[in-house]
């Protein structure tokens, strides 16, 4: 312990009298923070019960949650291995099949007796499927599942990964996948990291080719289609990818960006002249000032949602309602910010220009605009950044763009990989715009960039 300076009684009295604000604090100063935090905590607890947070979390489908999250970065192949009458097994793919017709699949191989062998990661974890029986290999140990016309039956000594569920037998291989053995078929689910057929769908001539092969084809390889170059062919196949719909998603993304850009720009152009009317020091007409400020307040206060839905009803879904919604809210918000900036200008420059006999337009052009322009542009850039994000949400309400696409993809609960792709695109675009607008802003008004 370092030496504590000793204070005698008279010193203590002197200090108390010199700094009363430190030693005699009012009740509110002493306990205000504590009481405030207590009230806020009580409010949160009340909301916890009012919103039924506890039951909602208890009843949440958390098994689905992990499945959905896995779908973000991995994909599932889901063939059904049907037992035919002639004693063979036939794989059947859904319409979303990720493999081309007749392609050679490394984890799904036909065996000699007309059956199929499904491997989950290694030879030690696999299914040998024949119509009468399925041999389930778990960590190298084999558990035969017998199948008759009514039920599939698991052996009695089966571990927890192999489970009897009524007439079905469920096999769980963790991340690698599952299988459901039924009397008429085996429903296989096999999971792989990454996004299936992201570049080309199964109909493309480039499907299933490795990166090396693709690079070779793109540069020096023979033309697959004599009519066009391989690069052009690749681009067409990429954009025309039926599963991932790159062309559609990119155009929807562009729509969202256009909404934010045009909405903010038009809002800026609209607010710029009106801010001068609203500013008390420029327009010496109280009625005009007041009217303009109330107009700004009205435009700003009507929710963006209201504008968006109203214009969606009028113009139909698409970027126009989005532009209009952003324009109307931003015209109000920017008008307010701009007029406040104009009211705070230094009057000396205006007087200087006025003193040489310039008309009022010139006075404002050279006395006011040079002072406020950097502030105006920097504020508009802030709004542009924030609108790039809100345009996504506005789109989901019905204004179109990537927001609506996201909502559609989420609605099916099966396209979470596509959701992840769109989120990634949005994140990239937002980061890019943040940096561009930061760079412009710091060049205009100086100061640190983040």
């Amino acid at each position: 312990m370092p030496s504590v300076p000793a204070i005698n009684a008279s010193d203590r009295e002197r200090l108390r009298e010199t700094y009363p604000q430190v030693f005699h604090r009012s009740f509110l100063q002493r306990y205000g923070l504590l009481i405030g935090s207590g009230l806020i905590l009580a409010y949160l607890v009340a909301c916890f019960f009012a919103f039924n947070v506890g039951p909602a979390f208890r009843n949440g489908q958390w098994d689905r949650a992990s499945l959905y999250l896995q779908d973000w970065y991995s994909w599932r192949a889901q063939p059904r291995l049907r037992f035919q009458d002639d004693g063979t097994v036939k794989p059947q793919w859904s319409s979303r099949g990720q493999y081309a017709e007749g392609s050679d699949i490394s984890w799904l191989k036909p065996t000699e007796g007309g059956g199929y062998r499904v491997t989950y990661g290694s030879e030690a974890d696999r299914l040998d499927v024949t119509p009468g029986r399925v041999d389930v290999y778990l960590n190298g140990t084999v558990y035969p599942v017998t199948i008759d016309s009514n039920a599939a039956t698991a052996p009695a000594d089966a571990p927890s990964a192999l489970r009897q569920d009524g007439a079905k037998v469920l096999v769980d291989y963790g991340f690698e996948g599952q299988a459901e053995i039924r009397p008429a078929q085996v429903y296989v689910q096999r999971r792989f990291l990454g996004w299936a057929n992201f570049l080309f769908d199964t109909k493309s001539a480039f499907w299933g080719k490795s990166w090396g092969e693709l690079a070779h084809l793109a540069t020096i390889g023979e033309r697959l289609d004599p009519a066009r170059s391989n690069i052009g062919h690749m681009r067409d196949d990429f954009l025309g990818n039926n599963v991932w719909q790159h062309a559609d998603i990119l155009s929807k993304l562009l729509q969202t960006l256009v909404m934010a850009f045009v909405g903010t720009l038009l809002g800026t152009l609209f607010a710029f002249p009106l801010a001068f009317i609203a500013a008390r020091n420029i327009t010496r007409n109280r009625a005009a000032n007041w009217g303009m400020k109330r107009l700004f307040d009205f435009l700003r206060s009507v929710d963006m949602l209201i504008w968006a839905l109203f214009f969606t009803r009028s113009f139909g879904p698409g970027p126009i309602p989005g532009i209009a919604a952003i324009f109307f809210t931003d015209a109000g918000a920017l008008g307010k910010v701009y007029s406040e900036a104009v009211e705070n200008v230094d009057d000396k420059q205006r007087e200087g220009v006025k003193s040489v006999g310039a008309p009022s337009v010139i006075v404002n052009r050279f006395g006011v605009v040079p002072q406020v322009l950097p502030v105006f542009i920097s504020q508009s850039l802030y709004f542009w950044e924030s609108n790039t994000r809100s345009a996504t949400v506005i789109g989901a309400v019905g204004a179109g763009g990537i927001g609506l696409k996201l909502l559609e993809a989420m609605g099916t609960n099966a396209d979470w990989d596509k959701v992840a792709y769109m989120v990634l695109l949005i994140l990239i675009v937002v980061f890019l715009f943040d940096n561009v607008s930061n760079a412009i802003r710091s060049r205009l008004i100086g100061g640190p960039t983040h």
């Binding site: 949650a65 839905l309 113009f315 126009i320 989901a396 937002v430």
Partner: protein, 337 residues
């Protein structure tokens, strides 16, 4: 387009450099010449910038018009028709819809059925549905602002260069904030709706996540601009990091933090209406249904309610902010971003 704007700026500028060059000495006229040259270069750049902007603007407008379901000029008359036809049967209908009073036009359809949605507290006392939904929306905004600002408050000190240096901690925390800020709210809301079923919790979490990112950024900028002298004093007295933050930084930044949080609460009220319309519940969803089903009286009732509550919240929070930190309380753009 470019030439027009060039001429305009040329005309305006002409009033300024109108001094006749002949009366100047050789040095001064050389300077004037340089000045004119610079001015000319700048005007060319300005003209090019404006030209590029206009081209991009018109290209964007054309793209937007092509992508839209209805074309702008084709649909414009319909818009006015829509406004004209979208009126309630009588002004009183708006009041009735707002307070869930029985309508004289009632024909059993949903359009005039105001009384069915009453939320009874006791046998006779009820909260009208739109007020009830508005309370839900505002509470969603408040809860997410409180939780979000609390988390942002803790995180922001780890993102400030003057407290943790420019090391990996700052880098990681800042990137986390950026991702939270840019992550589309509807995706979080949609994912949680799929797991927790429809309800306000998805909206709360989605808005909270965004609030952490947005407020965290504003907070650490405030912390970085704070005066470090109290910190030095505490450091000299041997205070720990937590004590330095608590007694040197927090008292300085707290008024600004509270001001930004209030600004965020305003923004979040708007955000929660929008998220509500996408599936979070509250007034947003009711509004979407009302305007989608052509229920004019209900729509206007909600618009009036929303307008009044948003203005009231704005006024209250700007009054509170002005009391807290005075005139610098109006950084609307920054709060919105």
């Amino acid at each position: 387009m470019a030439t027009i704007s060039k001429q305009t700026t040329g005309h305006l500028g002409g009033n300024l450099d109108g001094a006749p060059g002949s009366r100047l000495g050789p040095a001064a006229s050389l300077m004037m010449q340089h000045y004119r040259q610079q001015l000319r270069t700048r005007r060319v750049y300005t003209a090019i910038t404006i030209g590029v902007f206009l081209v991009v603007l018109f290209a964007s407008l054309k793209f937007a018009n092509d992508a839209n379901a209805g074309k702008f000029f084709e649909r414009l008359p319909y818009m006015f028709d829509f406004i004209r036809s979208f009126v309630p049967d009588s002004p009183m209908e708006i009041i009735r819809a707002m307070f869930d009073l029985p309508s004289p036009y009632a024909d059993g359809s949903l359009k005039y059925d105001y009384t069915a949605d009453r939320h009874y507290i006791t046998e006779t006392f009820y909260i009208p549905n739109f007020f009830y939904q508005l309370i839900i929306t505002i509470n969603i905004a408040l809860v997410s602002t409180i939780i979000g600002s609390a988390i942002a408050f803790v995180l922001c000190f780890f993102a400030s260069t003057n407290l943790v240096g420019a090391g990996p901690v700052r880098f990681v925390v800042r990137r986390i904030m950026e991702i939270l800020r840019a992550f589309p709210e509807i995706v979080i809301a949609g994912l949680l709706t799929a797991i927790l079923s429809i309800g306000p919790i998805a909206a709360i979490i989605a808005i909270t996540v965004h609030t952490i990112g947005a407020l965290g950024k504003l907070f650490f900028e405030v912390v970085e601009n704070s005066d470090m002298k109290p910190d030095e004093g505490l450091r000299a007295a041997g205070a720990s990091w937590v004590e330095r933050v608590r007694f040197a930084i927090v008292p300085q930044v707290l008024p600004n933090f509270v001001s930004y949080t209030l600004l965020r609460a305003e923004v979040n009220v708007r955000a929660s209406t929008i998220i509500g319309a996408v599936g979070g519940g509250g007034i947003g969803e009711v509004f979407r249904l009302a305007i989608g089903r052509d229920h004019a009286a209900k729509t206007y009732a909600i618009i009036i309610l929303l307008l009044v509550s948003v203005i009231a919240i704005d006024q209250f929070s700007s009054w509170l902010r002005r009391r807290l930190i005075g005139q610098q309380s109006f950084e609307l753009g920054r709060g919105a971003a």
